[in-house]
Symmetry: C2
Subunit: 252 residues, 2 copies
């Protein structure tokens, strides 16, 4: 299978490498940043291209992994290709690609950082395509990477992307605030890591609503007051503490 | 080693069972709820007692695992005992036990639900005692359960407890809100589980501030606006979305 990778950020890098490990040929890499394209091209044995006019028209898959608002601008350059063109965005409608012959969405519902290795066996792939035939083709490509294949239309994909912000970005921000709290007192974030892990492990087996613990869930007013006192000098965290404690109480 | 367990909730139950598995004798269990005490006593081969006047004066360890505001009331009943008396609370000063001969704190920094099994190898134990001798004794007891032993005074323990609310209780609440978002659209929470796991795994190796992803971290205003639109019918979640997105931007 011949793949052209358009974009070389977190998502493009991890996906190109995962495909390569599964014996696909990454034939070209394009990025608006030529140095970035060159780096990923070198890593995957591809050709780096600086101009989309030089794109190989006969690849099997064109993987768009650029910023959401840059996707539409690529359509003109991809009109002439023969393979399947997919974007990887959670928040962007599939129709942004209409005008291309064969197109779809290949959305990995996962968090990617360049430095952190990732095993695609744990990456849910949300697929959508402009025809049943293209969806089948996309499914055959996807199963090479992950057993977690979901058929999701654009509306539902946007909902998953939004839910992902709560389940990942806001969660990591909570970790970050807890880091701030302990480091301010000369304590090491390391001591919180097992708690973070166990909280995630619980959510693998149970539903979050069934395993909520803590002072707000118990409505332990005395502890909540003590915590609010400890946060007097961090008003920004105090505000978040109050809002989230109230939200937990509300959803009991 | 002979242990008396005072309290039979989430923490008492898991700790008594963990000690039993490590060949300690749970000799007595007391709880304000006699049925609960009887259940844990049966599970651990202990005697259930309904009256603290019947307490065995010669155990090695008295483990207090009751609600925070009930700890102080136990002091009178425990004045005559010869062993080491510890409470397991994160938010309560050690001095609540002063008046007893040998006392301290044995705080497991972890989230416990009765139904979920827990491996104490992953439970950080925060220790404090009223003398160097008692601290040594407590350390010898603690290493039987977990290699994660920390010496933490009452002030710092309260900070850890507060940080734990962010790193666990608020995190689980974020999971819960994401559950609400997907279920409202007929999607299964299951699809978010790998993302939840990966977010926690990242925090095991990196610092949260170094791996923050998402639209707020990228200051991707278009996506944030789209998300806010999707949340119009969930004003409670919209408020939280805005506050946390702003907080992420602020801490960049």
């Amino acid at each position: 299978m011949k793949i052209v990778c358009i974009g070389s950020g977190n998502v493009g890098t991890h996906m190109a490498n995962a495909f390569k490990e599964n014996e696909a040929d990454i034939v070209q890499v394009w990025s608006k940043d030529p140095a970035n394209a060159a780096a990923l091209a070198f890593e995957t044995g591809a050709q780096a291209i600086a101009d989309l006019e030089d794109i190989d028209l006969n690849a099997d898959l064109y993987l768009i992994a650029v910023k959401d608002d840059a996707i539409a601008k690529l359509v003109r350059a991809l009109k002439a290709v023969n393979g399947l063109v997919v974007h990887t965005s959670g928040a962007t409608d599939m129709n942004v690609l209409s005008g291309i012959k064969n197109y779809g969405v290949f959305y990995p519902l996962q968090t990617f950082s360049k430095e952190e290795p990732i095993d695609f066996i744990h990456v849910p792939l949300c697929l959508e395509a402009n025809s049943a035939e293209n969806l089948s083709a996309l499914r055959l490509i996807a199963v090479k990477l992950s057993p977690l294949i979901y058929e999701v239309n654009s509306e539902k994909r946007k909902i998953l992307h939004l839910a992902g912000v709560f389940a990942c970005n806001f969660v990591n921000h909570m970790y970050r605030l807890s880091q701030q709290i302990v480091e301010k007192q000369g304590l090491d974030f390391e001591i919180l890591r097992p708690l973070i892990m166990e909280t995630a492990v619980k959510a693998q087996n149970a539903l979050p609503e069934d395993v909520q613990t803590g002072p707000a869930a118990r409505n332990d007013k005395q502890t909540i007051l003590k915590h609010e006192e400890l946060l007097q000098k961090l008003p920004h965290l105090l505000e978040i503490y109050k809002i989230l404690s109230n939200s937990i109480k509300k959803t009991r």
